[in-house]
């Protein structure tokens, strides 16, 4: 009896050991597979530069996440599909991601056209579409799987208006804006806020993204006789406008939206962007440790290259994704629900970030008031220029 017992015992424990081994092998295999995020964005085509900047930000964040032991003991990785920011390609990519069980969440796309065309597929497929550059007011209205860390322009533009009107004392404004969904929405919020602060908006001019020549536009601006120019631009067109404004003899104060914040703005604008005022969501000399960690890490990884705002968005987005996956695990639905639970993710742009569950956008952007002095961005010291 004891004999039998012992035999069964041995057999049983052997079996248990085998099973245990098999299980741990399975678990091992599973944990060695990274948790995969899908990225849909432009690597070729006219917006290719932004895809490249995303990658730099993502890769830096991933290095740090991996070094800290990954997410829930597993590595985090992404699969970047080139959409050229073209809706035809972003919908195909959406189907690809939705039907790939390894993908737990999607990031991107860059433009509203490409992102919002793919939204119905992500919504129906139950995969989170995390658009971190999608400021189009309707983006998060696509469904409860659409989330964004792109600060609503409804929050940002009044801060710029406050800077220009209240702090710099500009009373009569000329607004030049990129004629896209982003530029247009921003302009409307800005104009509304500026009027509330008591300024007059004398002229608004929308230009298309490919535009290079602004001389005639600036004559219109001059004839409106404003005491300040407001640029709702990206850094490349912002620099062009500033240069040409100085060339045609406009000496007015220039204020720009945070989107011009990039070392490239100064490189491309040269002396013309001296004394340009801008609000920004992140500033390298911001003493907060997460900002300093991002900048030193970035420069170290990319041979001294200065990061800019798009690098920071991507870096933050990846960290945010990691924080969310940490809560939600690998289940797509649980990941969506994790957006409502995530709190205090340390980020470059938002300080400690959380989401507004109603609008499905991030809460609490940082805003620093900067000015370009001696070819460098500096915190504005409150003295008029």
């Amino acid at each position: 009896m004891s004999n039998i017992d012992r035999r069964t015992l041995v057999k049983g424990s052997l079996a248990a050991m085998m099973a245990g081994a098999a299980m741990s092998r399975g678990a091992l295999a599973q944990s060695s597979e990274p948790i995969l995020l899908g990225v849909s964005g432009p690597l070729t085509g006219p917006n290719a530069q932004y895809g490249t900047q995303w990658k730099q930000g993502f890769d830096l964040a991933l290095d740090e996440i991996q070094a800290a032991g990954g997410v829930n003991g597993r590595k985090l990785a992404y699969s970047f599909e080139d959409s050229q920011s073209d809706p035809r390609q972003s919908v195909a990519i959406a189907q690809k991601f939705v039907s790939d069980p390894r993908i737990v969440m999607e990031l991107g796309d860059f433009s509203s056209t490409a992102s919002m065309a793919a939204s119905p597929i992500y919504q129906r497929g139950g995969l989170v579409q995390f658009g971190f550059t999608n400021s189009h007011p309707d983006f998060t209205k696509g469904g409860d799987f659409m989330w964004s860390t792109s600060v609503s322009q409804a929050d940002e533009q009044p801060l710029l208006a406050q800077y220009a009107v209240r702090r710099l004392g500009l009373k009569k404004l000329a607004v030049l804006h990129l004629n896209t969904d982003w530029g247009r929405t921003s302009r409307d919020y800005f104009v509304k806020a500026a009027k509330e602060y008591g300024a007059e908006v004398a002229v608004t001019e929308g230009y298309i993204a490919e535009e290079r020549d602004f001389r005639s536009t600036l004559v219109r601006v001059r004839d409106a006789n404003p005491d300040g120019l407001i640029l709702i631009s990206y850094y490349s067109d912002g620099a062009l406008i500033a240069r040409q404004a100085r060339q045609v003899g406009l000496k007015q104060m220039i204020c720009a939206a945070s989107s011009v914040y990039s070392p490239k703005f100064i490189e491309l604008g040269g002396e013309a962007v001296e004394d340009v005022h801008l609000g920004t969501r992140y500033f390298p000399e911001d003493p907060r440790p997460e900002v300093q960690k991002f900048i030193t890490g970035f420069k170290k990884k990319y041979n001294g290259l200065e990061p800019d705002a798009f690098n920071a968005y991507a870096y933050d987005a990846m960290n945010m994704a990691a924080a969310i996956v940490k809560i939600g695990g690998t289940d797509r639905r649980a990941i969506r629900d994790a957006f409502t639970k995530v709190r205090d993710v340390s980020s470059v742009i938002f300080g400690s970030a959380a989401f507004d569950v109603e609008s499905r956008r991030v809460r609490g952007a940082m805003n620093a008031e900067l000015v370009v002095r001696k070819g460098q961005f500096a915190l504005w010291d409150g003295k008029p220029t």
Partner: protein, 607 residues
């Protein structure tokens, strides 16, 4: 009043910038009757070579200019020798497409080498400014004007008074006759390409310095403006190109003055259409110049269409129809949905470009009209989606035909330029007509596809729906081509003078073709709108028009099955090369080049 002086000066300054590109284009058109869509890419290459010289080698300005000119000329010679010379005896459309392919390859190579981030290209001239009117002019403005005018003048003298110049003009007039008179036509071509490329490169350098900014996306815009300026001036006429450029600059500047900045490009393209309609050869074409395309049908490669047995077609049809029942992933289905939508557009284009001979480079406009009509009908007026899509098709047919009809009297390249302009105009009108199109914000929340009250939201049902629509349109078109009407269409394509002599009314037949084609394209746009749920003015862009043209050439002009095969191939290829990420467009460009080199009549041949 002083503002008007400023607008005039600004217009002339930017006109100068356009002239730098337009002169090179005009020179090449003058000799090879070819619109060189790669000129913008040479300009891009010149800008980046200039950047290397200025920023890394610190060359002084005169040396920079020489370095850029020589390097760009070399690029031009390579393009001529390996890209275009092999296509000499090929159909006219082959070199045109080849230049598009070359531009993809060049742009992409520059982007891979230098990254797509914009760079600063500092001006090497002192930054002094002279007060003129309310504004100022700098030395670089003067240098650009100097280069534009001097090169035009030198070229004029060269063409009129030098022996090689005579050879160039003789070759332009009649290539065969020139050859028989002992002119080395290849050498002439080489010289022209070298000169034009050197000019293009230097213009990239100067314009880059002017804006202190270069980026890899600047080539298409340069080509577009250059082509407009050149055609306005009179294609092939070098001084005309300069005057056309200045005129273009002025019209844009005055347009901004009167209507505001967002209308700027609208006026550029309207100017082009108006000039083409009033003076089809441009403002300064000499009266003695031979008509640009003495015979029609020049775009068509003579070939025998590949006969596909009926059973093979039925098997393919059946295979695609039951595909969703097989274990095919949604990704494959979605990719094929894109192919069917592109197929409808290609059917439309193959009818107008292949069957009746009106090459269109602005076909995406028809998609946009259909998409907006269908989206707005269903959103604003709650029209059922199925009917709204048909409404989109009808609107594209009507509006598209009306817009394109002024170009019916144009020939050859001019038709493609006019349609290119009309495509841009439609896109800009959508951007600016806010009360109807919602302007830059676009139309969002478009209801999903539905039919008789059933929503089609699964990829499977959308697949079947779009496939069925495409097959019906294809069958109708095949029936049309086999009919008396189809034969009349081809008669017009092959010889419009003979067709007219037999009593065919060209305008009416061309209209009929555009009505049918417009309907197919509009339906495609309508379905896309409901599929994406969001559209804006950039959803259907010039790239889409060029893609459609490539599909049609790939399949074989006028060939219904070819349009579908081409769509599947060109939607599928980029997806296959997805793994190649950054190299995708490069591969696409090379495939295009190989195709026009080895099979200009398309895979299935022309019907």
């Amino acid at each position: 009043m002083s503002s008007w002086l400023d607008y005039t000066i600004n217009g002339l300054i930017v006109g100068n910038v356009y002239a730098l590109v337009a002169v090179g284009l005009a020179l090449i058109f003058g000799v090879s009757r070819l619109i060189n869509f790669a000129q913008g890419s040479i300009y891009l290459v010149g800008a980046y070579i200039g950047w290397v010289a200025v920023v890394q080698l610190h060359t002084p300005l005169p040396l920079t200019i020489i370095v850029v000119a020589v390097a760009a000329a070399l690029v031009g010679l390579i393009i001529e020798r390996f890209g275009l010379r092999p296509l000499q005896n090929s159909v006219r459309i082959a070199p045109l497409l080849a230049t598009i392919g070359i531009s993809f390859v060049l742009d992409q190579l520059v982007m891979l080498t230098f990254s797509p981030n914009p760079r600063a290209l500092p001006s090497q001239l002192p930054d002094v400014r002279f007060q003129v009117g309310g504004g100022t002019i700098g030395p670089l403005d003067l240098l650009i004007a100097g280069v534009g005018l001097t090169s035009a003048l030198l070229l004029f003298v060269f063409l009129r008074y030098s022996k090689l110049g005579w050879a160039v003009r003789a070759t332009a007039q009649d290539r065969d006759a020139a050859m028989q008179m002992g002119v080395d036509v290849n050498r002439v071509n080489q010289a022209v390409f070298g000169i034009a490329a050197a000019l293009g490169g230097v213009s990239g350098l100067l314009v880059g310095m002017y804006y202190n900014q270069i980026d890899t996306a600047m080539s298409l815009q340069a080509t577009l403006k250059g082509v407009v300026a050149e055609v306005v001036g009179g294609a092939g006429n070098v001084p005309g190109a300069v005057i056309g450029s200045l005129l273009l600059g002025l019209v844009e500047s005055y347009g901004v003055a009167v209507f505001g900045t967002s209308y700027r490009n609208l006026f550029a393209f309207l100017l082009l259409v108006v000039v083409l309609v009033l003076r089809p050869n441009g403002l300064f074409a000499s009266a003695r110049q031979a008509p640009p395309e003495p015979l029609t049908g020049t775009f068509i490669a003579p070939s025998r269409p590949v006969r596909i047995p009926r059973w093979a077609l039925l098997i393919a049809l059946g295979g695609f129809a039951i595909l969703p029942l097989l274990p095919a992933s949604f990704y494959v289905l979605q990719t094929l949905i894109n192919a069917w939508l592109l197929g409808m557009l290609a059917l439309s284009l193959t009818l107008v470009a292949g069957t009746i001979g009106q090459v269109s480079l602005g076909h995406a406009a028809l998609l946009a009209i259909g998409a907006y009509t269908s989206a707005l009908l269903s959103l604003t007026f709650s029209v059922p989606v199925g009917l709204a899509i048909i409404g989109g098709g009808l609107m594209s047919a009507a509006l598209g035909t009306a817009l394109i009809s002024p170009s019916f009297r144009l020939r050859g390249h001019y038709v493609s330029i006019a349609t290119l302009a009309i495509g841009e105009i439609v896109s800009l009108v959508i951007l600016n007509w806010e009360s109807v199109t919602r302007g830059p914000i676009g139309v969002s929340g478009i209801p999903p596809l539905s039919l008789f009250g059933y929503e089609l939201i699964s990829p499977t049902s959308i697949y079947w729906f779009s496939f069925a629509v495409m097959v019906v349109l294809a069958l109708l078109q095949a029936r049309l081509l086999g009919s008396h009407l189809g034969r009349s269409f081809r008669a017009i394509r092959d010889d419009d003078i003979a067709a007219r002599a037999y009593g065919l009314s060209l305008n009416r037949y061309k209209s009929l073709a555009f009505i049918f084609g417009g309907f197919a394209a509009g339906v495609s746009g309508g379905i896309a709108a409901h599929l994406y749920s969001y559209i804006n003015h950039e959803t259907f862009n010039t790239q889409q028009s060029i893609l459609a043209l490539t599909v049609v050439i790939l399949g074989g002009l006028g060939n219904v099955v070819g349009a579908v095969v081409g769509s599947v191939a060109l939607v599928g290829l980029p997806e296959l090369f997805r793994i190649a990420a950054e190299y995708r467009i490069l591969i696409y460009g090379i495939v295009l080049l190989l195709l026009v080199r080895f099979r200009p009549q398309g895979l299935l041949g022309t019907i």
